[in-house]
């Protein structure tokens, strides 16, 4: 499922992500655990938590990131 669709606070592991050096540089890679912190109306970005960090990700990009739920 795309990262954009996860419920808030659900921990998920990233499986696939588009090639984008900035994503990598921000620490978003295969296998890292993140959770959605906020979502915005009007096609705004989502903010995800990764360890102690908050990262804003554009809606279009977040829709291309595939992740699975951590049980």
């Amino acid at each position: 499922m795309s990262l954009y669709k996860f419920n808030k606070k659900e921990n998920c592991i990233i499986d696939e992500l588009p090639t984008n050096d900035l994503l990598l540089a921000l620490g978003l890679r295969k296998g890292v655990t993140v959770s959605v912190l906020t979502r915005q109306p009007f096609g705004g970005p989502i903010v995800v938590k990764m360890n102690n960090r908050s990262i804003a990700i554009d809606k279009n990009v977040a829709e291309q990131i595939m992740a699975r739920l951590v049980s």
Binding site: D21, P45, A56, D58
Partner: protein, 584 residues
């Protein structure tokens, strides 16, 4: 590569140069200020430094040039800031001080390993150790040093901790001239290695989030983030508008108009005989009268308060959060949310706003933001002028002018977004921690900005006023007034002398408003004058920045368009308002 960099680069002697590098927002600018004693502005969001700054100093009989390189996540040269960084590296230096953020080791080490591909000794400054400690992060310094094969020094730059040691090691490194092992890794290998190192040297202990961390998260939720944003905005307006008015009428105007100016006028008229020269100095438009009253009593209070508020917001880390909230809407103007930072800076001065757009990777974004700031965002000096002109006369007209500004931003932004080719970049942004700004850094920053305003504004303002005085005293105003009569009187409905506003407005934006203060104008005329001034050509210093950043052609087009816009809409306001008032 832009030409201006090449010219500057020739001045840098690479042998005793030390490059200060690292990810954005890790404290490079703070380290630079502390080591060189030079004042550079830092802020709590990515991309404050968009071009390099060089500081020369002598340390232990060693002449050193420290170069503050723009912060980058990688060295792939995808934005102007990264291009500058890669260029500096290619040119070579005696050593690199690589600043690492202790709270975000993994990402910082990725850049650290990319730097190892260049043939230069590196010293690592592991910064923000205090914040890391608060977050429950501990790092095995010796282990990290071994893994990197270079000295690693713990630092807290804002408190000057460890910086001397970093410099000692850097000097030692470039004097030693040891053989350096160049390590070239593929992207995958690099991330793997970085991950392994982090696992080995870093332990993270979970800490219960504090109130400020929770507040930081709330500010990014639509609720309560949007109500919080409205409260913040109201507070900003209250402080700048209300505080500015109080400061102006209770403190500065009495001191200047009843104290300083009469003393100067008295003194000057004793020394200098009656005549044109005396009038130029202390007459109605005298340089020593208006040249003191306008900038110091009428403009300064607003400028001071705006910079206090702006600096506080910058250092608190609130602005990128606002960017997240407004991204969806701002995107309709072709601007991803991150652009809110240079946009808000534009309400201070267009020059740093335009330079600040360098951090964004798309040319389209830069051009849209620059156009909007040049056309419809009044700078703080102009805001002060509007408040002086309109605040006491009619709050309605004041609100009207700002409504017009807002509508123009939206309409022009949407239109430019449709017209200009290209795409704006997606929003991908690290949100810094929300924190209470340190008083010392804040005070210093406000002081730098204020000093800058006094130096930048006072000289052109004096020249402008002198010019105005000359034009009035010589009667040349009649010649200009007659020449511009069809435009100024016929179309805009302003008195002939108001043409002086159009002339002075070229020098500085607020000078398009100030002369109107002393003319006996009707409410419609004040409104028209304000609308013209709002859109009118950005001042000379903005024009120079436009030429530098976008070439002469774009600068000329932008300036020409803003003038046409100003005169056209000023006239429309006049015609409509006159028509309506004739109905009653």
């Amino acid at each position: 590569m832009k030409k201006c960099h090449q010219i500057e680069e020739k001045n840098v002697d690479s042998k005793n140069a030390i490059l200060l590098m690292g990810n954005p927002n890790v404290g490079k600018s703070v380290i630079f200020s502390k080591l060189t004693g030079m004042n550079v502005i830092s802020a709590n969001y990515t991309g404050t430094t968009v071009t390099f700054t060089k500081g020369d100093f002598t340390y232990k009989n060693e002449k050193i040039s420290l170069i503050d390189v723009p912060g980058t996540y990688t060295l792939e040269a995808t934005s102007p800031a990264e291009e500058v960084a890669v260029d500096m590296l290619k040119q070579g230096a005696g050593a690199i001080i690589c600043v690492l953020d202790a709270t975000n080791l993994e990402r910082n080490l990725n850049l650290a390993f990319q730097l190892k591909e260049y043939n230069m000794p590196i010293v690592y400054s592991l910064n923000l150790m205090d914040v890391a400690e608060r977050q429950g992060i501990t790092i095995d310094i010796d282990g990290l040093s071994k893994a990197l094969g270079a000295p690693v020094i713990e630092t807290v730059a804002t408190h000057n901790k460890g910086l001397k040691k970093v410099l000692d090691e850097a000097v030692k490194a470039f004097k030693a001239q040891e053989e350096i092992q160049i390590e070239v890794l593929s992207k995958e290998e690099r991330w793997k290695k970085v991950g392994e190192i982090c696992e080995k040297v870093q332990t993270i202990e979970y800490r219960e989030p504090k109130f400020i961390d929770k507040l930081g998260d709330w500010t990014m939720q639509p609720f309560p983030g949007i109500p919080i944003a409205i409260v913040v905005l109201a507070l900003v307006l209250g402080i700048v508008v209300g505080g500015g008015k109080a400061l102006r009428s209770l403190v500065l105007l009495p001191i200047i108009n009843e104290g300083i100016v009469p003393i100067i006028t008295d003194l000057v008229s004793r020394i200098i005989p009656e005549g044109v020269f005396l009038k130029l100095l202390v007459g109605d438009f005298g340089v020593l009268v208006k040249g003191i009253e306008w900038p110091f009593a009428l403009i300064l209070p607003y400028v001071l308060l705006f910079y206090i508020v702006l600096s506080f917001l910058e250092d608190s880390g609130y602005l990128p959060r606002l960017g997240v909230l407004v991204d969806g809407i701002l995107r309709k103007l072709g601007l991803p949310g991150g652009n809110i930072v240079p946009f808000i800076m534009g309400y201070g001065c267009a020059v740093p706003a335009i330079l600040g757009t360098r951090a964004s990777s798309s040319y389209k974004e830069r051009l849209i933001l620059t156009s909007l700031v040049s056309l419809a965002v009044p700078c703080t000096a102009q805001t002060g002028a509007f408040f002086s002109l309109l605040g006491d006369r009619s709050v309605f007209v004041l609100i009207f002018v700002y409504m017009i500004s807002f509508v123009a931003i939206v309409v022009v932004g949407v239109a430019l977004n449709k017209m200009l080719p290209g795409k704006s970049a997606p929003m991908l942004l690290e949100i810094p921690n929300l924190l209470m700004p340190s008083k010392g850094t804040l005070f210093k920053k406000i002081w730098i900005r204020l000093k800058h305003f006094l130096v930048e504004a006072e000289v052109p303002m004096m020249i402008g006023i002198l010019l105005a005085a000359l034009i009035f005293e010589t009667g040349f105003i009649n010649v200009i007034g007659t020449a511009l009569e069809p435009l100024v009187v016929g179309w805009l409905g302003l008195p002939k002398e108001a043409s002086i506003s159009l002339l002075l407005g070229i020098i500085r934006r607020e000078l398009a408003v100030m002369p109107l203060l002393d003319m006996d104008l009707s409410i419609i005329q004040v409104m028209v004058g304000s609308v013209v001034a709002l859109f009118y050509i950005p001042c000379l210093s903005v024009f120079i920045v436009l030429v530098k950043e976008f070439k002469l052609k774009v600068a000329l087009i932008l300036s020409g368009t803003t003038i046409a816009f100003a005169l056209f809409f000023g006239g429309i306001v006049n015609q409509v308002a006159t028509f309506i008032s004739n109905l009653f």
